[in-house]
Amino acid sequence: MTIAAIRRNAPLWISIGAGVALWEIAGRMSSAAFMVPFSETLVRLWQLITRGEFIAQFFDSAELFLTGFVLALMVGAPLGMLLARVRALRVGIEPYLMTLYATPMVALIPFILSLMGFGFAPKVLVVFLFSVFPVLYNTVEGARSIKPEMIEVAKSFRSSEWSLWREVMLPYTLPYLMTGVRQAIGRALVGMIAAEFFLSSTGLGQLIMGASQDFDTGGVFASIFVIGLIGVGLTRLGLKIEQHFARWRQ
């Protein structure tokens, strides 16, 4: 690492160090039921990992997240493009899409619970519902911003419907779709935890719930810490994906 890089990253590391120190001190000063110092959180986390509990729960959650998210992408992206191309359909559906995008989907969880019970499918549905609308909404938004002239030029060069899609629609909407993907990653994560809290308790959600019910504050902190790190990692990934595809947006 060069000196310049060290100097550039120094404030970040100092800030992280100060935060950890603050956590440690606050944890030591307050009662163990209230807050647990950083060191104990790590110890507790290590216990959870070595007991194998954590790994199993992690893969449970990952399976749920991926299934719901991929489904949302598979439905949201093509449907969004279709809406973009067929104007009559888009004009008709747009306000409802906006409504659903702005509706807090958590409110549907009790209905899903009483209709579909406690299996895997209802939880996938929750993750799907949380993440499909950002994808759909942004894809439509992107397609709406395609200049009509571009399609007219393509048409006047007698391009076929297929090549119109491949050469104009797809490249143009892709950056917007990726904005949707970034938003959807965050929402899918919330959906995953919500599903694990309120439907059948599994995965990382169950890890927290269990710890909280046992008044195991260390376990709660350890789970929140890990889920927070996963959230940061996924958000970064989403930003990277978005930036990668945003290059030809301008």
Binding site: G92, A102, F111, S114, E141, I208, S223, G228
Partner: protein, 271 residues
């Protein structure tokens, strides 16, 4: 002579019925067909208690006159309003500091980003330990869910204040504090509004999730309770109301931006 040509009337303006010109008709048709499909599917395949448009419609008058519902509505609205008020004040203050001071920004950026990336509802078990199963835990969740969106947006806004504004203010010997209030804050208003839109949506989710989790009175708990009692129609009225809140926040922000900040152009709308 070409008299006839002159007499020829100008090509008639294509007459489009008023209703067809706008988007109203396709929208109405889509809306009605969605409702129709929903009604038919539920009638054909689902048990009788499942919400369908006709029964939800019938349930609306009884629900909105039900004191229990009004109380639940009031509790949630009050909590969201209180949480958002705290969020706006605190979030804006922190955001302004972050945007205008590199030291503060370097100190707390990693935490703001980190907390913002967390799925907000994981703090619920912790808050229930800290605050008990009470309204305080709900307010805490609302604030935690909403504040980082505002802070990040205001910080972005404060950072993007045109340099000339600040230079002019400085050459008129304006103090730091005055500059923050009179120049930086108004200039980052559009960002604040964009942050508010995000924050309001998250605050609603936070309130509903907190009520599910903590079983405290409110719209979320009303939905949970009624759907458990197989009163799906009544519960669905609650969902409709939540959707209405979500949409009206969205519309309110759009309207405010257009009405009070005509100088600010939303990025994609310029073409």
């Amino acid at each position: 002579m070409s008299q006839a040509a002159i007499a020829t009337p100008a090509p008639a303006v294509r007459k489009v019925p008023v209703l067809m010109r706008g988007a109203l008709v396709p929208r109405l048709i889509t809306g009605l067909s969605i409702l129709l499909v929903w009604e038919i599917v539920v009638r054909a395949f689902a048990p009788a208690y499942v919400a369908k448009p006709s029964t939800v419609l019938l349930a609306i008058p009884t629900v909105i006159t039900d004191p229990a519902f009004l109380q639940a509505l009031g509790a949630t609205v009050a909590a969201v309003a209180e949480g958002l008020a705290i969020t706006i004040v605190a979030g804006t203050a922190i955001g302004l500091l972050m945007g205008r001071s590199t030291t503060v920004d370097r100190m707390i950026r990693v935490y703001i980003n980190g907390f913002n990336a967390m799925p907000m509802i994981i703090v619920l078990p912790l808050f229930s330990l800290w605050f008990g199963y009470s309204g305080a835990a709900r307010i805490g969740t609302i604030i935690f869910a909403a504040i980082f969106a505002i802070t990040m947006n205001v910080a972005d806004g404060a950072r993007s204040v045109p340099r000339e504004y600040l230079e002019v203010a400085r050459s008129f010997r304006s103090g730091r504090w005055r500059m923050l209030i009179d120049i930086v804050l108004p200039s980052s208003m559009p960002y604040l509004l964009a942050g508010f839109r995000l924050a309001a949506g998250r605050a609603l989710i936070g309130a509903v999730v907190a009520e599910f989790f903590l079983s405290i009175g409110g719209l979320g708990y009303y939905i949970l309770y009624n759907s458990r009692a197989y009163h799906h129609n009544e519960a669905f009225v609650g969902v409709l109301l939540l959707a209405a809140f979500g949409v009206s926040f969205e519309l309110l922000v759009n309207w405010c931006t257009r009405r009070f900040m005509p100088w600010y152009r939303r990025d994609e709308k310029t073409s």
